[in-house]
């Protein structure tokens, strides 16, 4: 779900942070520890970081972790190319002999030098290799890092609130887990799912929504499915059902489920689902 959808979903004034989660956030802040959020894809981990930032009224800085990412990229960047260009053409206002003019802060660096307390969201940490993860927590523990090129140490002015998300797929290392507080976001219950759908399809009639949700949760129960459909798949499915002019909502209740390919992305899963609905 995108940020935009989120705003529609709650908005700062109307969105009530899950009580349990609010408590965990508070404890993590008090203990000055990063909070690790885990959960299936499509359970809104990233969204919750947005909600936290909003209810705390702090700016949100997002570090989207990529598999090839090196830690230093998240901290700062030394823009050698611009410097080379400046030294060659000399038409900028920057002082070429001053390297610090070519240092740009990465996302973690930005959070450290910000004037006010920020929420630092480190999204999908499990994509990076374990060295990245451990080194990053070192930096977050000490709240400082060195810029080698100019021999300067950047120390956090105000410790940011660190939220880390991870898809449940991969286990993180024990030292990493040891330094985080942990919360697992369960897959939304059907009634919450109804609300989520209402956010995305405000005009959707209950005649379609309820049977679709029921069918969706039934399909999630299927044995031996490798990739269970998540919220994202359900939303796309409803979109597909709406788009089909021939589709009758009564069909869902009769157990006829079209467009299963939208829900199941693996051929073996699709086969299994097909068998169930056919019988």
């Amino acid at each position: 779900m995108t940020e935009q959808n989120f705003h529609r979903f709650g908005g700062a004034s109307r969105y009530v942070l899950d009580e349990e989660l609010a408590k965990i956030v508070n404890v993590s802040m008090a203990l000055e520890m990063p909070l690790l959020l885990k959960g299936e894809p499509g359970t809104g981990k990233t969204m919750l970081a947005h909600a936290i930032a909003e209810s705390l009224e702090m700016p949100l800085i997002i570090l989207n972790v990529k598999s090839s990412m090196k830690l230093v990229e998240a901290l700062y960047q030394y823009d050698t190319l611009t410097r080379l260009n400046d030294s060659r053409f000399g038409d900028s206002s920057r002082d070429v002999s001053n390297i610090s003019e070519y240092i740009r802060m990465g996302k973690i660096g930005q959070a450290f030098v910000a004037d006010q307390r920020t929420v630092l969201l480190i999204d999908e940490i499990d994509k990076a290799d374990s060295d990245f993860q451990d080194d990053m927590l070192d930096v977050l523990d000490q709240m400082q890092f060195d810029i080698m090129e100019i021999d300067r140490t950047v120390t956090a002015r105000i410790r940011p609130v660190v939220i880390i998300t991870s898809n449940a797929k991969k286990d993180l290392s024990d030292p990493f887990l040891g330094r985080c507080n942990f919360h697992h976001i369960a897959f939304p219950e059907p009634d919450i799912m109804r609300r989520i759908i209402a956010v995305h399809f405000p005009d959707l009639s209950n005649d379609l929504a309820q049977p679709a949700i029921n069918a969706f949760y039934r399909l999630r129960q299927l044995e031996g499915v490798e990739k269970k459909p998540a919220t994202r798949e359900l939303l796309n499915w409803i979109r597909a059902l709406q788009a089909d002019p021939d589709f009758r909502t009564e069909a869902l209740s009769d157990g006829v489920l079209p467009y299963l390919g939208v829900l199941f992305k693996k051929s073996s899963d699709l086969e299994k689902a097909g068998l169930v609905t056919a019988s």
């Binding site: 965990i24 404890v27 008090a30 203990l31 050698t80 410097r83 040891g178 985080c180 942990f182």
Partner: protein, 396 residues
């Protein structure tokens, strides 16, 4: 009051570190916890680092703080009852068959998991009779039949008896490993594949990388820096030997096969052979181990750089490994004891690894596991073990 909480959690297998526990104390002293509900949430987020342990945590918490019954009659205890019963009955297959109302032949076809489920369902049906059955099991006594007895399927529990709980603990552990994510499961396939991708040889760094050289030279503002990459070597040959005999291995055989088949393209050559418990004179090309034997001598003629990978629980009666005619296949006479075969294989192929689905914490209880480990390096069949094993296999 909190110290027992800590130890109970640890006893139940939740890996709570002392640091985490001290951190909880700190949270308490900061006045962040106002009620038991708060404590429940806060302690969980600080102490428990995996959703897999949430259930255990709930149980321990309820037991120590809410004064609830330690074992709810549903779920957990029935599971344990099922396991204990199963373990005991397995020693006398005829009894088990009778108890379940199956013939011995039918029984043999059931996998361990199926069997457990079957038993579990039965127990559930009879809840009225067996309610609170733990004690009943406990006083029932454990059948003294040893672990080298003759059982179909060969679900063996290695090691000596550890008083009342021995059998129960051992079997429980192994089953928990089946059902929980500890050893390899289908859903971890993607991750496991990533580990296997490292199973490729690394040459010396002597190939000029033009791209990286340009990049580094630019970073040095024109000062030339030459970067070398590893030379590409020919891909590896892999000989995969799978123990597919017996119930204990059944859940893994398919997963391991699928895993290596997915990775097939990355190997120069992948051959899969099957054996039962340990290597005797022959291995089989067909999973049924009937029609297509291949002698160990033939295996030995392969390229010695071939990576030799065993997958098995390495658990059997010691004589099967050590004696000349220890094989449980009575119709066949061996030429050498199995242990000699393993030694020859290990010296011929210097890159060999044994992946074992049994949790390493139990290895010391299995006599044959201990012996095999000294011959062939052993790793757990889970993601961490795969990673280590692959590192071992690619080391020079």
């Amino acid at each position: 009051m909190f110290v027992p909480f800590f130890y109970t959690l640890r006893d139940r297998g939740v890996a709570v570190t002392p640091t985490a526990f001290l951190r909880l104390q700190k949270a308490l002293s900061l006045g962040l916890v106002a009620s038991l509900d708060d404590f429940y949430i806060v302690a969980r987020s600080i102490l428990v680092k995996s959703e897999r342990d949430f259930d255990t945590y709930d149980l321990v918490f309820a037991e120590l703080f809410a004064g609830a019954e330690a074992y709810p009659a549903e779920g957990v205890v029935l599971d344990e009852v099922a396991r204990a019963l199963l373990e005991q009955w397995l020693k006398v297959p005829a009894d088990l068959a009778k108890a379940l109302g199956l013939s011995e032949k039918e029984l043999r076809r059931l996998s361990a998991a199926e069997l457990e489920q079957y038993l579990f369902d039965r127990l559930k049906d009879q809840k009225a009779v067996h309610y609170g059955g733990r004690k009943w099991i406990g006083s029932g006594g454990v059948s003294p039949i040893g672990h080298s007895g003759n059982r179909p399927g060969g679900m063996r529990i290695g090691g000596t008896s550890r008083a009342r709980t021995a059998s129960k603990v051992a079997l429980e552990r192994r089953y928990r490993d089946y059902s929980r994510t500890a050893p390899l499961t289908r859903s971890q396939m993607g991750e496991a594949l990533k580990r296997l991708r490292h199973l490729k040889p690394a040459g010396p760094r002597d190939e000029l990388s033009v791209e990286k050289t340009i990049y580094q030279t630019m970073r040095n503002a024109g000062e030339i820096e030459i970067v070398f990459d590893r030379r590409l070597l020919d891909r590896l040959k892999v000989l995969l030997l799978i123990d597919n005999g017996g119930w204990s291995m059944e859940p893994y055989v398919e997963t391991v096969q699928a895993l290596f088949h997915h990775a097939r393209s990355q190997f120069k050559d992948l051959s899969i052979r099957y054996f039962h418990n340990t290597i005797t004179d022959r291995v089989w090309r067909d999973p049924e181990r009937r029609s297509k034997p291949e002698t160990v001598e033939d295996l030995l003629r392969r390229d010695p750089e071939t990576r030799l990978i065993f997958v098995g629980d390495a658990s059997m009666a010691p004589e099967e490994l050590l004696a000349v005619d220890g094989s449980i296949m009575l119709e066949y006479r061996q030429k050498q004891p199995s242990i000699e075969r393993l030694k020859t294989l290990a010296t011929t192929f210097r890159h060999a690894a044994w992946f074992n689905p049994v949790s390493s914490s139990l290895w010391k209880h299995g006599e044959t596991i201990g012996i095999i480990r000294t011959i062939i390096p052993m790793f757990e069949l889970n993601l961490a073990g795969l990673e280590k094993g692959v590192r071992h296999l690619t080391a020079r």
